[in-house]
């Protein structure tokens, strides 16, 4: 067993602080993978939903029809895509404002835009959930691992001080066990970095899609309210 320095043996042989570090890193890795998978699925779904909704929207469907469809789906406890929430917020506000007597077109448009901005920022929040966690795992876990390694090497050298003949064989296991902490830090950090970068780009893409849609939609409503008035 001492000859075969398997990684598990090294982990078990580490000192308590190093073990703690490894535990933290392991937990961070598990959590970050949960986030990675969940975010990956969520963002992919969001992108596809956005495309679907845009297709329906520009297919010339009646907006009232679209809105009542959404109502139905909400009652059926179904998931609504983020862009639809933006649409619904804007449309609801538009309906409310235009039902007033002699509405001011500019006020209507401003109200609609405000409502959509609120919905947009909510959606952005949803898209960005967990990404900060991934970012911090990505940036911090190498340091935690490094801390474990430094601590472990310190211990190894302190042990070395008491030995008469300092051969490589005396220090090597200590250093190997210490380096596992760094390895684990990197193991946790690398997927997190990759995922964070990729997901941040995806979120940007989807969110800018939402924004464009919101602008276009407010343009449509603006045209409608002005034609109504005149």
């Amino acid at each position: 067993m001492t000859q075969e320095l398997s990684i598990w043996v090294l982990i078990l042989g580490a000192t308590l602080p190093v073990k703690l570090v490894m535990l933290i890193l392991f937990g961070a890795s598990v959590l970050s993978w949960v986030m990675i998978v969940q975010r990956g699925l969520y963002l992919r779904a969001a992108g596809a939903d956005f495309k679907d909704f845009e297709n329906t929207f520009w297919s010339g469907v009646d907006l009232n029809q679209l809105f009542s469809d959404g109502n139905q789906r909400l009652q059926g406890n179904q998931h609504l895509p983020g862009v639809e929430a933006v649409f619904r917020a804007g449309f609801r506000e538009f309906n409310r404002l235009t039902q007033q007597r002699s509405p001011d077109p500019d006020a209507v448009v401003a109200g609609v835009e405000r409502a959509m901005r609120v919905a947009l920022s909510r959606e952005e929040e949803k898209l960005n959930t967990h990404l900060p966690f991934l970012a911090s795992v990505a940036s911090v876990s190498p340091y935690i691992g490094l801390f474990g390694t430094v601590w472990g090497i310190m211990q190894a050298f302190r042990g070395l001080a008491g030995v008469q003949q300092a051969t490589l064989a005396v220090v090597a296991p200590g250093i190997a066990e210490a380096l596992i902490a760094t390895a684990m830090g990197l193991f946790a950090a690398i997927p997190a970095v990759i995922a964070y970068n990729r997901y941040a780009a995806l979120v940007d893409q989807v969110y800018s899609g939402y924004q464009t849609f919101a602008e276009e939609f407010s343009g449509i409503l603006h045209r409608r309210v002005h034609s109504k008035v005149s």
Partner: protein, 276 residues
């Protein structure tokens, strides 16, 4: 098909599986394959520091004089000659014995039936045989002695020749050493600043250790002059030189000469050396 809701359950499951798998791998004793890399075997040269204490006139190592001993050819030819001589001696002895035997026969015939004669004859035979043997031995001994003498003479000649050669070589080497010694002396003298306390009768002996590059590795005072400042000035002079560049040529040309003369160098510093 599309994952609705937040998909947390699936994510937790996937992450759990991934990490569980890694843990299981580790616990089961798996570790990344490693093959001890075959390092190219370098052949090391054992280097030992040897200190050649011999003075310049030290005799060359024994390996050289041994050569002539193997050389001489004459003793090689000797056995043939010895054999020939031995054969000749044998033949002579045989002839002589035959002649004597004939004479004895004749005497016996003359004194036929005489027991005394017979006894005499036997005695004569025996004496003859003994004499022949003695002759033979003496001649063999003489031949051997001759051979030994010749061999000794050849060896002597070879030794003398080798000695002459050695003497010539030594003379050349001494000249070479002397030229380098004067170079060393000049270099040190150029760097020597005598302290004001220096007197004419002061003398300090230093031992300087050099390496084949000519670099000064250490300076030690063997015999102090009694004046620490004067001693220190001498040590400083050597240390300021730092490196005797030309000694590198010598050690490249003739490492042995360097080892014998310059590896440890005893220097004597006397103010009048500098004619000051």
């Amino acid at each position: 098909m599309r994952v609705r809701g937040n998909g947390y359950r699936f994510a937790v499951l996937a992450s759990g599986l991934l990490h569980g798998g890694i843990l299981a791998l580790l616990i089961s004793g798996w570790h990344p394959e490693f093959q001890p890399r075959q390092l190219p075997q370098t052949t090391y040269m054992e280097a030992a520091l040897l200190q050649v204490e011999a003075p310049p006139a030290a005799p060359r190592p024994v390996t050289k004089p041994e050569m002539p001993e193997i050389e001489p050819a004459p003793p090689q030819a000797d056995p043939a000659e010895v054999q020939r001589q031995r054969a000749a001696a044998d033949k002579a002895a045989r002839d002589k014995a035959a002649r004597e035997k004939a004479a004895a026969d004749k005497a016996a015939r003359e004194k036929a039936a005489a027991d005394k004669a017979a006894r005499e004859k036997a005695a004569a035979d025996k004496a003859a045989r003994e004499k022949a043997a003695a002759d033979k031995a003496a001649r063999e001994k003489a031949a051997a002695e001759q051979a030994a003498r010749e061999k000794a003479a050849a060896e002597q000649a070879a030794r003398e020749k080798a000695a002459q050669q050695r003497a010539a070589q030594q003379a050349a080497a001494q000249q070479l050493v002397a030229s380098y010694e004067s170079y060393v002396r000049d270099r040190i003298a150029g760097n020597w600043n005598r302290p004001p306390s220096a007197r004419r009768d002061m003398q300090v002996d230093l031992q300087v250790r050099l390496v084949p590059t000519g670099q000064v590795m250490g300076v030690a005072v063997i015999r102090s002059s009694g004046d620490p400042a004067f001693d220190q000035s001498a040590v400083n002079a050597v240390q300021q030189v730092g490196r005797f560049d030309r000694l590198q040529e010598l050690s490249r040309k003739d490492p042995l000469l360097f080892e014998q003369n310059f590896r440890t160098l005893n220097l004597t510093f006397r103010p009048d050396d500098l004619r000051l």
